[in-house]
Each structure stands twice: as C-alpha cells, then as structure tokens.
C-alpha cells in the first residue's frame, strides 16, 4: 500500500497529527514540566513558601541548611523563598513583552509585506535602525531614559524586540501572498483586509508561535539583566536579576546568586526545549 505524502511547506499545519503528538518527545515533556512547575509556583507560592520573601527569616548570610535551602542574604531573608517569588516578576513581565512584541511586530510586518511600496520601506527601515543596536544596549538606553520599574522594562524590551517579529511576518506574508489560493480569493472579490486576516495570517502563525516560545526564555534573561544593572525591578522586590546583583556584591556567599541563577537557567532551558520540539513538530524537514 502506498501512502500519498503531501509536500509540506513551512507554516502549513501538519496533516493528521494532533498537537499532543509533540508531547511524546522527552524534550517537550521536560520543557512542559519545568514551565508547568513555575506556573504552579506563581499561583500557589503564597500557601507553601517556607518564609516571607521580604522579611528577615534568620541571621544574615547564613549558608544553605535544611531550614534555608539556599541560605539567607545580606538582610537575613530566605533566598529560596525569594527565588520562588521571583517567578511572579519575571514570567509575567516576559509574557507581557512577548504578547506585545508579537502583536505590534506581527501587525506591522504583515501590513508591510502585504501593502508593499512606501509602507514596507518605512517599516523595514525602522526595523533596520532598531536592529542596528546591540539589543541589551538599546534596552538599557530606553530603560534609563524611562526610569527603573518593571513596566518601563516591558516598554524597553518591546521597543528592542518587535522588529524581529515584523521581519518574520513580512517574510511569511510575502511568501504566502504569491500563492495561487490568494489570487483565487482575490478573484472571487474578497477585500484586501479580509485576505490578510483570513487567508494570510492563519498560515503565517506557526513560525511566530515557535519563535515566541524560544524568545520567552531570552526575554526572561534580558529582564533579569536589566534588573541586574539597576534598570529594571527595584531592590526590595525579589526579582531574579536584583537578587543576582545583591549576590554579586557578596562574592563569597555564592548561594545568594545561585538560587535565582538556577531559576533563570531552568526557565530559559524549559522554553528552548519547548520551542525546539514545536519546531520539529511543525517542520518535519528540520529534523535530523
């Protein structure tokens, strides 16, 4: 028996395979487990955190013990509890950045690719300008101009990040725009906006999903970096970047930076694994 194999281009939904087939991969399961753990932490940490993240829980700079798994910091606060609460800062911030960049970047990119001409030129030149700066440098400049605080961090990161999605969507739109079924839709009188919304965007979504998953980890890292530099969250709050900054001032009390460091590592790794397995799932040709 022969099975007809449809030529599958990037962006087409795989035929006949449900999304949870991707979960069979150990990578995907691991990523999901890690991210799931942090989500549970965000929701329930109030009920089971060993100590108050903002109040002293013991002596200053205690090394790890059974009571303080990751020791205490310069003010005697429990590092482990603070790292758990840190997820409440980093993940929502990253989620906000990703949602806004995907919305703004995708919209601008899709319009640029669809309309072409001067609209395209203007949007793409702005992208070029933004991408000409090293991302961390531009984010620092914007955050410094706006002042510290997580809301400003989100604005700074969105400004740095949207061109990536604008370019991605523009490329996708250009590729899909020339397909026969788009011309067919035009030939039955479908207006341009509806063509973009109903016939182009749904087919361009997959690479955005993959990219957004991968970028999530990067944004968590960048948020922490800005906080580390004093441009993001401000000190009493148990944000991971802030905690590493505090840890870096007490070089021999290595445990202060260890907990937030591991937290960042696990989140970045988790999202990368998720993104990788999603890409393998949606684009079988990229598999080795």
């Amino acid at each position: 028996m022969t099975v007809a194999i449809e030529p599958l281009s990037v962006g087409d939904a795989p035929v006949g395979r449900p999304i949870w087939a991707a979960m069979r991969r150990p990578q995907f399961a691991f990523g999901l487990l890690v991210i799931g753990f942090w989500l549970v932490v965000i929701v329930t940490v109030d009920f089971w955190a060993p100590h108050d993240p903002l109040a002293a829980a013991g002596d200053r700079l205690l090394s790890p013990s059974s009571d303080h798994w990751f020791g205490t910091d310069t003010l005697g606060r429990d590092v482990f509890s603070r790292a758990l609460y840190g997820a409440r800062y980093s993940l929502p911030t990253a989620a906000g950045v990703i949602i806004l960049t995907v919305l703004i970047g995708s919209t601008l990119g899709a319009i640029a690719g669809f309309r072409g001409g001067w609209v395209d030129s203007i949007v793409m030149r702005i992208c070029d300008i933004v991408l000409a700066f090293p991302p961390i440098l531009l984010a620092m400049a914007v955050a410094a101009a706006l002042g510290p605080g997580l809301r400003n961090t989100v604005i700074a990161l969105v400004i740095v990040w949207w061109p990536i999605y604008a370019r991605l969507l523009r490329g996708q739109t250009l590729a899909i725009k020339n397909r026969d079924h788009i011309e067919a839709a035009v030939s039955i009188g479908v207006p341009p906006r509806r063509i973009l919304r109903r016939h182009i965007l749904p087919l361009a979504g997959t690479p955005v999903l993959i990219n957004a998953t991968m970028d999530f980890g990067q944004v968590v890292l960048l948020t922490a970096s800005l906080s580390f530099l004093g441009l993001g969250a401000v000190p009493p709050s148990p944000e991971w970047g802030v905690m590493i900054d505090e840890g870096s001032r007490n070089f021999f009390q290595w445990w202060i930076a260890l907990a937030p460091g591991l937290a960042i590592l696990s989140v970045v790794l988790g999202f990368n694994f998720l993104g990788d397995s999603l890409r393998d799932f949606f684009d079988p040709r990229s598999q080795r």
């Binding site: 449809e6 030939s187 039955i188 479908v190 749904p202």
Partner: protein, 343 residues
C-alpha cells in the same frame, strides 16, 4: 466595420451588445531592457451565453489578457486599451467596483486545483466566504448555499464534503470546488484559465461535462483559455487563436477546424493525433519568438512553411477572410486548403 464583421460568424451572437468587449488590449511588463509586451492589441467579444475559446501556446498572452479583465495582472503590468463588461469600462475602474465584479459578475477558474484552495479553511468556509463577500446573508444561509453549490458541480455527498479540508479531496473534486466558488454568485461570465490542464484525462472529461452542463443551465458565457484544441472543439462556439500576444485567427469553431485560414492554426491542427487516419504528426518547427525581440513583419514568419517576402515587411492585422478573421497577408493560403484535402 471590423466589429460588425466579427459578429458575422456562423453562429450569430444572441444579443447585439456583447457581454464582454475587449478592444485593442495591450499589456506590457517592466523588463530589464524596457517594457515587454505580452499582449499586443487584442480584440475580443464574448456574447451572453456564448463559449469563446482562446487557444495558444504558453506565453502567447492568452492568460494575461483574460487576467487583466479582472484586474489580476500583477502590479508591474501596464494595461492599455478598453475592456468593457456590459458596456462598463473595467480598465482603470476603482478597486471597489472591481471587487464587486470579481466573483459577483465574472467568475474565475484557475489551472491548478491543488494550489488554488486555501489549505487552512474547510471547503464550506471557502464557499461561504465567496457568498458572504457579495451577498447580504447570515452564516447559516451561506453555509446552506455552499452545500447547494457543491450539488451544482455534482460533488458526491456534499453535506459531508463541506466539512472537509482541501487536502482530503482529489484533484478533480478540488476543481469542482473551484468551479463552485466561481459560480457562488451566479456570474454572467466565467473565465476558465486552463481548467483541465492539471487533471488527468478521465477527470478532465468529468470537469468539462460539469462546465458544459452549468453553461447550459445558467446560460453562462465562458471564456475558455486552453492549449488543448480538443477541449475547444467540444465546448466552444467561437475560437480565437493567439500567437505572440495577438489574435491571429478568430472563427466559429467548425470553421476553425475545417476551413482555417492561418498557417499557425493549420500547424496546431496538424499537431493533433487523429483517430480516423494513419497520418504522421507534424510538429511546428522552431520555438515562439521572444516577445521582447519580435521580428519586423509577421511574428510567425520564422516558423511558417508558407512564408513569403511580404511576410517580413507587413505586420498583418485581422482581416475578414471568408467567414473568419485572419491576420495573415497571404490569406487565403491556397496551400492550406490543398493539404486539408489530402489529409
């Protein structure tokens, strides 16, 4: 004078005013060394309920000229001349007017049914969309209409098929869906751009049958673009033969097959295998000229077995010869009629 002679063919057009009238259509594209003329002065009429075949090789301009009727030529193209649909000029018409005509008054069928449907939408949603963009109706009504449309194109089990995605259907079924989409708003004219080229022969026959039946039932006019003379013979009332961006012969279908006057038409017919005689096939020698580098005089002269000195001088225009219109300075070519008798 010319226009009256055109409608004077063997089967007279039912109405005095044609549904579609193309006059001196010129389409050119921006090329690296100046504009490239793909269509060089095409005159064409399609009457209501009439099937007009447009035949030619790849690159002869047959698709481009009909795509420009709907304004579907690419953004780099320049279109000149006049395209009148029901007396209304379409060249330079505002986008909103064109959108109403596309799919509303003129339907279009594309060559490749494998790629002309959106892979991410069900058949029903695509058909319903064709209805919704032109008619004020609820989603439910549009859905019911899409089932009706599938019945129109003789799709088996239409109630089940509306929920199917394009990849679940065969090529022939998809082409039925494409026809159903084009027919969604009961248009007056259907432009069929090689509707059977991408299908295998048995499916071709079924699709042509569907087209012919719909044409009869709805008194539909069809502009049938094809390179398959067999398709034209079976369906068309009139035939226009295109070569290098021009119509070289325009005739009623029987006249074209039995009393053709242009050597190119004769060449095309000689390429067809015949069942009734053991005659060898005669391919047309050479290749079509590059449209950005046409010779002076007749564009077919280099490949024409009857070419004379006059052919290199005069660029022929369509002139009445017998009951047809022929663009050949030598017409009527006596040799053509002799070869027809001997074959």
């Amino acid at each position: 004078m010319t226009s009256s002679a055109l409608s004077n063919s063997a089967t007279p057009a039912p109405t005095s005013e044609p549904l579609l009238e193309i006059k001196d259509l010129r389409v050119s594209f921006e090329g690296p060394h100046g504009p490239i003329s793909a269509v060089r002065g095409v005159n064409l009429r399609v009457g209501a309920g009439e099937v007009v075949g447009i035949v030619g090789e790849s690159g002869s301009g047959k698709s481009v000229s009909m795509l420009s009727v709907l304004g579907l030529h690419g953004p780099g193209a320049t279109v000149e001349g006049s395209i009148k649909f029901r007396g209304r000029e379409l060249i330079g018409a505002p986008p909103t007017v064109m959108r109403k005509i596309r799919g509303g008054k003129i339907g279009m069928i594309f060559q490749d049914p494998m790629t002309s449907l959106n892979p991410s939408l069900t058949i029903g949603r695509q058909l319903a969309e064709a209805v919704i963009v032109h008619q004020r109706c609820s989603k439910k009504e549009a859905w019911a209409k899409s089932v009706e449309l599938l019945e129109l194109v003789a799709m088996p089990t239409p109630e089940a098929r509306v929920k199917a995605y394009p990849h679940e259907l065969s090529g022939g079924m998809r082409q039925r869906v494409v026809i159903a989409m084009a027919m969604a708003n009961d248009p007056d004219l259907l432009i069929a751009d090689e509707p059977t080229t991408a299908l295998d022969v048995t499916t071709q026959a079924q699709i042509l049958e569907v087209l012919a039946r719909i044409q009869q039932e709805r008194d539909l006019a069809i502009a049938l673009i094809t390179h398959d003379l067999g398709v034209v013979a079976g369906m068309a009332d009139k035939v226009n033969v295109m070569y290098a961006g021009r119509i070289v012969e325009s005739a009623a279908v029987d006249d074209l097959f039995y009393r053709h006057e242009h050597p190119y038409t004769a060449g095309l017919l000689a390429c067809l295998p015949r069942l009734d005689a053991r005659a060898p096939l005669h391919p047309i020698g050479g290749a079509p000229p590059s449209i950005d580098d046409l010779p002076p005089g007749c564009s077919f002269q280099a490949r024409c077995p009857h070419a004379a000195e006059a052919c290199a001088v005069t660029d022929p225009t369509l002139e009445p010869v017998g009951t047809s219109q022929v663009a050949c300075v030598l017409a009527p070519v006596p040799a053509l009629h002799r070869s027809e008798v001997s074959a």
